[in-house]
Symmetry: C2
Subunit: 222 residues, 2 copies
DNA sequence: GGTAAATAACTGACCGGTCAGTTATTAATC
DNA sequence: GATTAATAACTGACCGGTCAGTTATTTACC
């Protein structure tokens, strides 16, 4: 059919069916959406392939198994975003309160409110069944994410902006409402008609609560 | 073999194998443990039956389907505990800070730290796949649980112990660290070797943070 | 026509659910 | 109190559908 005369790499605009390079990304994107929507076990590889516009056999040209696809979904999907977030956060490295705000709202903008927002639910659900994927996720996502939060807290304590804290515990505690918001949206909010919760005011309330909870006592105690 | 002489109803201490009354409980207990450990989809009904000491056929004498078993696990397992918690909480109805503390630590003692602690993970994972079970859970567990928390907050605000708040949002936010603790224990903590987190100090840090975050301003502003 | 890409048909293990048959327990009869 | 009949509790082999993974074949491009 095509009579393109270009002899070199040929920037084919025609959606030719052979596109070895793009396939893995298309497949992981399709898999992410379906894993998040229906869960890992309930997602059929036929569906993943169909959503990516190929057949199941093609999927197996790029991934050895369903678990390998799972790992790729995490690796391609969320790991790069963590690194990106770290860079953004470094821009305000001198103001702990500002950093905390950037962290919370940035997390929502870059993860919670995107198609990646279902990843926490997916990983929590499947961690026990796929310990290797879970370990990868802990190492590449959870630990870096916690380290960033802890850096903010430690810095705030050091500058006297925040009071003395068990920063390890508080790090965990402060991640919880973010994760809860994402989990909620991808579980009960999606299937039961619950009065919807505006993420923006949720985050504002949370930030407000936390700032007051962390603040160093002005002067006289109670 | 047996030479029990009692001719009446016979309070048989011997664990005879036919025990119609006890079976459903034994089966839901086995199912809870396995659903929590491996997830709903990955749990075989043969396993549930085996753990309860019966065959799969017997399971179907008491439950119509795997989903019916799921619903029974929730109904028998956690719904009664909610009502129990409500009564305990009413005992301190005059002191909002005390109520809040009772709520947090009571939740951990009665749910998070028991075999029920895996239920939040189970329900979050499966809500989309079993909307009817999810709706039951929202109605009988989540909404009552939230209502209790909200009652505490509204009362605290009314008494001037807590500052003005968006109590609806704060209710959600305060549930998150509890649920997070339970989810964590039943996912990553169970499969990746993560430095374990002491629930007691986690809850103390959380309670401390929240009390300071909620406290009405003494007098002067910033 | 050679080869890389993609497919569609296929396989085999698995598992929810069923049911004909077995065993323990109770009731009835002498 | 022993034997038989009736019933309730239980079993495990089986069936049918599903789905991860494989392979023989076709298609597209050089």
């Amino acid at each position: 059919m095509g009579d393109r005369g270009l002899t070199d790499k040929a920037t084919h605009k025609t959606p030719v069916r052979r596109r070895k390079e793009a396939r893995p990304q298309e497949l992981t994107a399709a898999a992410l959406a379906l894993f998040v929507e229906k869960g890992f076990a309930a997602t059929r590889l036929d569906e993943v392939a169909a959503r990516a516009g190929v057949s199941k056999g093609t999927l197996y040209l790029y991934f050895d198994s369903k678990e390998a696809l799972f790992l790729a979904v995490i690796r391609e999907g969320i790991v790069p975003v963590i690194e990106e977030g770290r860079k953004l956060l470094a821009a305000h490295a001198d103001d702990p309160e500002r950093m905390l705000r950037e962290y919370l709202f940035g997390w929502w903008a870059m993860i919670g409110n995107t198609e990646l927002g279902g990843v926490p639910k997916l990983m929590t659900s499947e961690a026990q069944n796929f310990p290797e994927v879970a370990q990868y996720y802990v190492r590449e996502v959870i630990q870096p994410g916690k380290a960033m939060m802890r850096e903010i807290l430690d810095r705030g304590v050091a500058k006297g902006v925040f009071r003395e804290l068990d920063t390890e515990m508080v790090t965990h505690i402060l991640m919880a409402p973010l994760l809860h918001l994402a989990l909620w949206r991808h579980s009960f909010a999606a299937c039961c008609q619950v009065p919807d919760m505006d993420p923006q005011s949720y985050l504002e309330s949370f930030f407000d609560l936390v700032l007051k909870g962390l603040a160093a006592a002005p002067e006289g105690g109670k």
